[in-house]
Amino acid sequence: MADVSANLAHLTPVHRLGEQAFDLVAEIGNMAIFSGSALAWMMRKRPSWANMLPNFYTIGVSSVPVVAITGTFIGMVLAVQAYTSFAQMGLATRLGSVINISLVKELGPVLAATMLAGRVGSSMAAELGTMRVTEQIDALAALGTNPIHYLVTPRFLGCFLLIPLLTLMADFMGVIGGAVVSTQLMGVDSFAYWKHSREFVGGVDVLAGVFKSFFFGAAIALISCHRGFHSRAGAEGVGRAATEAFVYSFIAILFLDFTIGIAWNNVYATIWPQSATLL
């Protein structure tokens, strides 16, 4: 055995590259098993309310202020940036349609998800990472409780069920922010602003954003919990898990936004072919 250890100490760059590729595949497989296990536990046994409610509060209620503020400012910034160009073309009254469609279909869901990944995802990874390092996760298992069921399921449900509400909150605040800046500061006619908004932004657009947010919430919860569960020892390991949780979640949000956006548009065009040109 000592010979094997000695050989492994003298790996060539090719070996190291192979080892990294192997690690990557193993990590993806590990993530898949972890996600499968979390989803399976959700079907088998609902966590207790005593376990779920604190998580729901942390994920949902505590995120409201930051999501509301971000949404408001994004709507306001969109109005400020778009106004000049639209006014030059004589289309200032159409500002509402552009701001609101951007908000409800893209910016609202993505920003709410990004805020959730930053505020809640990294916090979950750090908390679970600390629990891993201090053997609290082992203690749960030793007490006959499945750690994934006890720790991951309530967090998954919190993210999955509450992010659509946070998205709607971001949408609403962004719409209000954009409208206030456009009509009160830029002087756009309020009636025309809302009239064009109603013409171009429908319930399906809001639904498109909300639909995506479910996937964002699921990805944030699974990635963050996975990083926390597999945190390395020490303060550096926990910090790294928190950082990775945010970075990986953000990449997943953008990737899901792109793929679900394409899929949604295709489905929409299939069901209502005459509206394809509007998309």
Binding site: M1, A2, S5, E135, Q136, D138, A142, L143, G144, T145
Partner: protein
């Protein structure tokens, strides 16, 4: 969930068995070809240098880790063959005192001690306060701690709460991972007394991983000494000693005597030369 009761067996029967057991973390082999049987009712101490695999062995006994090779049996059942539900029920027959107690930070002391019985519905909810009070009293903790969080307690108090939490499940086998580490000599002796008290009053089987020779001499019926694989000669077994605590001082192997006497010997020079690092 109803708890599985232990089948009636003789005192000489092995309650935990490790057969041809090896454990590897990536390229690092920690345990090799371990054969160990723990009899019902005995208290076994596992000693050895840091990093030689003592805690790993403890976690393998309760299936918190899966062995790379070999079998771990509890009451004759191969733990690797149990499904999730049966494994969970089997774990309820163990108590585990973790090195740093591993209390749940977000829960109060009451909720920590009541965690196992409440999660598995082993007691009616109205009986939980009495159970928690009894367990905390058993480990010498005063009233009024129940509403505190673990961060508000001293190291010795946390250890005792950890022990109370483990005992709340009325385990058949108690696993202690370095129970006296980080405690002053008096508190260490208090923990040793509690281990003895648990063994006497609850008739539990005990496995104590420790570096503390006072603990070994006070609580153990039998001692096993593990040695780091990296420092073994080719073909040597990893268990250097398996016998009574009294026999340690007179062990034939000088490495056992060196460990017991806590002498550095040539170790500092070896470490400086990069030899013997784990």
């Amino acid at each position: 969930m109803t708890r599985v009761e232990a089948p009636a067996r003789g005192p000489d029967e092995s309650v935990v068995e490790m057969i041809d057991l090896s454990m590897r973390f990536r390229q690092h082999l920690v345990l090799r070809d371990i054969d160990l049987r723990i009899k019902r009712g005995e208290t076994l101490a596992i000693i050895g240098e840091s990093g030689c695999g003592k805690t790993v062995m403890l976690k393998l006994m309760i299936a918190l880790l899966k062995p790379s090779q070999g079998v771990v049996k509890f009451d004759g059942q191969d733990l690797s063959r149990l499904n999730e539900k049966d494994l969970s029920q089997t774990r309820l027959r163990f108590g585990f005192l973790f090195q740093m107690a591993a209390l749940f930070d977000s829960l109060t002391i009451f909720d920590n001690v009541a965690f196992g019985p409440r999660e598995h519905k082993l007691f009616p909810t109205e009986d939980l306060p009495r159970l928690v009070h009894e367990r905390l009293t058993e480990v010498g903790l005063p009233e009024g701690l129940e509403s505190k969080k673990p961060a508000e307690l001293s190291g010795g108090q946390r250890k005792r709460v950890g022990l109370a939490r483990a005992l709340a499940l009325n385990p058949e086998v108690m696993l202690y991972d370095e129970p006296t580490t980080g405690l002053d000599p008096i508190m260490s002796d208090v923990i040793n007394e509690l281990i003895l008290q648990t063994q006497r009053t609850k008739k539990t089987t005990g496995v104590v991983v420790t570096h503390d020779m006072k603990t070994v001499l006070k609580v153990a019926d039998r001692v096993v000494m593990l040695y780091p694989i990296a420092r073994l000669k080719p073909g040597e077994p990893q268990i250097l000693y398996d016998g009574s605590p009294e026999g340690l001082e007179k062990a034939a192997d000088p490495r056992v005597r060196q460990f017991v006497q806590g002498e550095a010997g040539e170790r500092l020079r070896e470490l400086a030369q990069g030899r013997g690092e784990l």
